[in-house]
């Protein structure tokens, strides 16, 4: 009876066809490709306006119904799997790019706007949005920025970080709130405020537990007029550390990352399609197997961009500085890869649309990453920790995909170590899961900082941060006293 009343009230808010309780559909929302335990919602509500969201949240407070905010559901880490049933608040139909401002270089997006949609729209006007490497193109830009997915330009302090400008959100009590210039209801275009702070950052990394973002201003910039890719091969990880530090210290290039042969080969495998669903279909590829043999174990990839003014002069002096530095460091630098035709062309295209990295999902269908931040000088130790564990668990070392992205000129490194397994093979899944769990905890013991603690990482991290956790819990109960928003996530377990 209770459920029926709730459904009717939701239908009154969102329209009959937008409230769904069909078991088959609910099941789709109950799991993703991650190891996060499945959890079924009671209903899915498609909303299309801020007012509807406010009404749903107010109703949820009245009826003590959990609400899981859902923008595109493509985070692949279980962040939208409801732990305690309730509603999936599906905003994927809020797909409007509300503004593209080419004078002050920002775009305003709704939660359903995807990277592909925004990048395609912007590039037609000569602009681009910064995109994380290997992101699902149908991923919501808003939720991805909110979850602090680091973009490929993150090595650059100026262009790669803090890309969020103004935000609009619905607080857990259903009240509207705006940050940045928007806070006074006028024109957007700046991040700080209201009252002289950077409060928008509170909602980042929050997995929808503290508020529901309904609009976001993001920085955009003109498409580079030219781009030049450089490849620096390394036989082992430790050799790459000093060059990364030196190159980043000189602030050369915008994009820069270190990638191992497994992940790089996947990008170049023509036989593989970019998957659209996750877990993906498994597809064996001799081309991939060959490429990963041919490629050096590690490749540092750097992109030097040419701006609109004096394009060539800029790329020339930056290239010269890079080559001079490589000379001093006695390392080889290439503008192409000998065994992969047009690798530099493929890579340059990836800077704008880095979807090809997703081809790695073809290998076994699902990818379980260990995603964390670490200081540069800890990388070799962390790599070794994982290798030792993989060996102990009988997981092939050659099947670990690795992507390492310097942040803010290598103050920190965003690390993604991938383990692959066939989603439908229960035994393999259990085995890989055991390795993944043990590796998570061992890496944390060795200084890997999981700043976005999804699924089981939450307990591992929050148990080591008692004061921070207790303040977060107090905050949650102060602003979401009914624990409506995405209960159970992070340290907000239901007691």
């Amino acid at each position: 009876m209770q459920a029926k009343t709730l459904k009717q009230e939701l239908e009154n808010i969102a329209g009959q066809s937008n409230v769904i309780d069909d078991e088959n559909i609910l099941k789709q929302y109950s799991q993703d490709q991650s190891f996060v335990a499945p959890g079924k919602p009671d209903m899915v509500v498609f909303v299309e306006s801020v007012e509807q969201i406010q009404k749903v949240v107010k109703l949820a407070n009245k009826t003590l119904t959990p609400v899981t905010p859902y923008s595109s559901g493509k985070n692949l880490h279980g962040a939208t799997i409801p732990e305690h049933g309730g509603l999936i608040l599906n905003m994927s139909r809020m797909k409007k790019i509300l503004e593209i401002n080419t004078e002050d270089w920002f775009a305003i997006v709704e939660p359903g706007v995807t990277y592909r949609q925004l990048q395609d729209t912007l590039s037609r006007q000569g602009y681009r949005v910064m995109v994380p490497y290997g992101i699902v193109p149908e991923r919501s830009v808003l939720s991805s920025y909110l979850e602090r997915d680091p973009v490929l330009a993150s090595p650059s302090f100026e262009n790669g970080n803090s890309l969020i400008l103004d935000t609009e959100l619905v607080l857990p009590d259903g009240e509207l709130f705006r940050t940045g210039n928007w806070a006074t209801g006028g024109r957007p275009g700046a991040p700080n405020g209201p009252i002289r702070n950077t409060i928008y950052r509170l909602w980042t990394g929050a997995q929808g537990t503290l508020g529901i973002l309904t609009k976001m201003g993001v920085q955009i910039e003109p498409l580079p007029k030219a781009g030049k890719i450089f490849f620096i091969p390394f036989q082992n990880l430790s050799e790459a550390i000093e060059p990364i530090k030196k190159i980043q210290g000189k602030e050369i290039g915008t994009e820069c990352f270190l990638i191992n042969s497994f992940n790089l080969a996947a990008v170049f495998t023509e036989e593989w399609e970019i998957p659209e669903t996750f877990p993906a279909a498994i597809s064996a590829s001799p081309e991939f197997d060959k490429a990963r043999q041919l490629l050096p174990p590690w490749t540092l990839i750097i992109c030097i961009n040419g701006p609109l003014r004096r394009t060539e002069e800029k790329t020339a002096y930056e290239t010269e500085a890079l080559k001079d530095l490589c000379n001093v460091l006695k390392i080889d630098i290439y503008e192409s890869l000998p065994d992969i035709p047009e690798a530099e062309v493929t890579m340059l295209a990836e800077m704008l649309r880095p979807w090809k990295a997703l081809k790695k999902f073809n290998y076994k269908g699902s990818v379980h990453d260990l995603t964390f931040k670490a200081p540069l000088n800890r990388l070799t130790k962390l790599d070794k920790t994982l290798q030792d564990l993989a060996q102990a668990h009988g997981y092939p070392l050659a099947d670990i995909g690795i992507f390492l992205l310097p942040l803010e000129r290598a103050r920190a490194i965003h690390c993604e170590f991938d383990l692959h397994c066939a989603h439908s093979d229960k035994r393999e899944k259990e085995k890989v899961k055991a390795l993944w769990l043990q590796a998570s905890s061992s890496l944390i013991n060795s200084g890997a900082y999981f700043d976005r603690p999804y699924g089981p990482w939450a307990e591992m991290i929050y148990s080591r941060a008692s004061n921070y956790t207790s303040m977060l819990k107090k905050l949650k109960s102060e602003i979401d006293p009914n624990n409506i928003l995405n209960p159970g996530k992070l340290c907000f377990g239901v007691t």
Binding site: G189, R196, G205, E320, K474, C491
Partner: protein
């Protein structure tokens, strides 16, 4: 003026509380001596505090000063304050308004001056760990020896502490590349108002290095930044370091850079730019050309600092107040201008390239470079900026007559620059100026700071400079700023949102338009950190009690101001 014969008697702590504080820090480091506490009662940019002095209202005078030596002692002091329900406030230099207690209750002033060390420069993680009282100058001196620096310093001078700036502002001359201080903090250690320790960033998770600013999960630092001290006392701060190509030491003039009133010769504050740096100064024929050029240079992504300086040049670059006034009168400095700081981080060719780009833009847009052949005497006079953009010294000259209050707006350049000029002009037209230099921003450019590398958003500033000995002028300066801010909010614009609105933040509680109702959320946050309502009373946002006790006559005045700018009057929420 009538003489006020009232005696000003500050509130006192009970002997029990005083003894408890002595037990923590020792008798040497706590004082309620009238001569001492008075020193902690007069601040910069604090018209309302100065008015209290005129009214012999003692509520700006703390009951005692306590100087803890470390975090543990700060914690113990806070515990005592909680046990006895005594209010307390952190204090660094007192260079900004609202530093003193704003209620008549006896207040403990926690001066962090004994915690003044740079604890670590970490070349691996590009961070520096500082105690609460370590300042920009100390940090830069240590970091530059290792080819690193923190990215900037405020005009309030490098004597400012990074800890108090993070609780308050942190606007630098080089925000263009490095952003404000808020973009440069990796971690803080905070003694919360209840005496707990809160650490932010990766540092909060045991076993982690101090290298990453976010999380775990939601970012609690965002609640401390800009809180005006209401979230507790920062005892340590870890900031980011960036590449510094300028050499291990700054080319300081031989006699140092004293910036003391009696040193009237330019040589004392004039040095050459640091190595591998080049400032360019441009004069524009009018405001529109200036804005166009700034927008274009901003978009070109060149340089590390990009700002327009208005009346400020006449203060910072003039060694005496007479010189300042003369130069204002003569319009000695170009009223529309900008400076761009170039830095050779990648290679020396970076400066060549960026200078060419700047010159291309000026050619397209209009404007003239100050040079040896065009107004060399002006370029010469501007020389204090050669070093001040890095390690600011001469900014304090703004205080020479008296820097009473500011409006600071934020946002995209075209709108924000015009809005500042518009609201400030309306304020001055309505209430009149307190001093000739209040006209800065009307007759010339407001101060414009690029706060984003591609010039997406900017901060602007216009100020009032009332004679602090004249209460009427102080009141006028308050009216100027309040009117400016109310007007800005009425236009659905900035200070409530992005700028500072110096001296008015808690009053935002009476502007439901901001947020909307930002005060509801902020009050919850204040309550979360400080359930006993003891820490930094009357700042950032009013607690429920402070809100309820807000004087009705002041609210009536505020409502008049609201009406004047087309906003409806408001009543206190019950």
């Amino acid at each position: 003026m009538q003489r006020n014969n009232k005696r000003s008697i500050p509130a006192k702590l009970t002997p029990e509380v005083y003894k408890a504080l002595e037990d923590i820090v020792g008798t040497e480091y706590v004082s309620e001596d009238r001569a001492v506490v008075e020193c902690y009662s007069k601040f910069s940019v604090d018209s309302s505090g100065a008015l209290k002095k005129h009214a012999k209202d003692p509520s700006n005078i703390p009951a005692c000063i306590v100087l803890p030596a470390n975090t543990r002692e700060v914690q113990a002091v806070v515990h005592v304050c909680n046990r006895f329900k005594v209010q307390f406030i952190a204090f660094s230099n007192g260079m900004i308004s609202f530093s003193g207690p704003t209620t008549p209750e006896p207040t403990v002033c926690v001066h962090t001056s004994r915690m003044n060390r740079v604890l670590e420069i970490d070349e691996n993680n590009l961070t520096a760990r500082l105690e609460a009282f370590a300042d920009y100058a100390q940090l830069q001196a240590d970091a530059m020896k290792r080819g690193l620096w923190n990215g900037g310093s405020p005009l309030a001078t490098t004597l400012c502490k990074l800890s108090s700036q993070s609780a308050f502002a942190g606007i630098w001359q080089t925000d263009h590349k490095y952003g404000t201080l808020s973009r440069n903090i990796v971690s803080i250690k905070l003694v919360t108002p209840t005496g707990d320790i809160l650490i932010t960033g990766s540092d909060t998770v045991s076993g982690m290095d101090t290298f990453w600013e976010y999380g775990p999960g939601p970012d609690l630092f965002s609640l401390v930044r800009g809180s005006g001290g209401t979230t507790g006392i920062i005892t340590e701060i870890v900031v980011k370091l960036h590449t510094w190509p300028g050499g291990p030491e700054l080319p300081e003039p031989e006699a140092g850079r004293p910036c003391i009133q009696t040193y009237t010769e330019a040589k004392y504050d004039t040095g050459s730019p640091p190595k591998h740096h080049k400032p360019l100064w441009v004069e524009f024929p009018d405001f529109e050309t200036e804005l166009k050029a700034l927008a274009e240079i901003g978009h070109a992504g060149i340089g590390i600092g990009l700002n327009a300086t208005g009346v400020y040049n006449s203060y910072y670059c003039s060694q005496t107040q007479e010189m300042t006034l003369e130069r204002v009168k003569e319009k000695f400095f170009p009223p529309y201008n900008c400076y761009l700081i170039l830095s050779a981080i990648i290679s020396e060719k970076q400066i060549d390239y960026e200078e060419k780009v700047c010159r291309d833009i000026i050619k397209e847009v209009g404007g003239t470079f100050l040079s040896e052949t065009y107004k060399p005497e002006v370029l010469d006079a501007l020389a204090p900026w050669n070093l001040d953009f890095v390690r600011h010294v001469t900014g304090f000259r703004m205080n020479r007559h008296a820097y009473g209050a500011s409006i600071i707006l934020g946002g995209p350049i075209t709108t924000v620059a015009h809005k500042t000029r518009e609201v400030w002009t309306k304020s001055i037209d309505t209430f009149g100026e307190t001093y000739i230099t209040d006209r800065g921003g009307m007759d010339d450019t407001p101060f414009l700071y690029s706060s984003n590398h591609n010039g997406r958003f900017w901060l602007t500033e216009a100020d009032a400079y009332p004679d602090m000995t004249n209460p009427e002028l102080l009141q006028k300066s308050q009216a100027l700023v309040t009117s400016g801010i109310v007007n800005t909010i009425a236009h659905q614009y900035g200070p409530g949102a992005n700028g500072l609105g110096v001296s008015i933040e808690p009053v935002t509680s009476f502007f439901p338009e901001v947020g909307p109702n930002a005060h509801h959320l902020f009050r919850k946050i204040r309550n979360l950190f400080d359930p006993n309502g003891l820490c930094a009373p009357g700042r950032q946002v009013f607690s429920k009690t402070e809100y309820d006790n807000f004087p009705d006559d002041v609210l009536a005045d505020l409502n008049k101001m609201r009406q004047m700018h087309g906003l409806s009057t408001i009543k206190k929420e019950k």
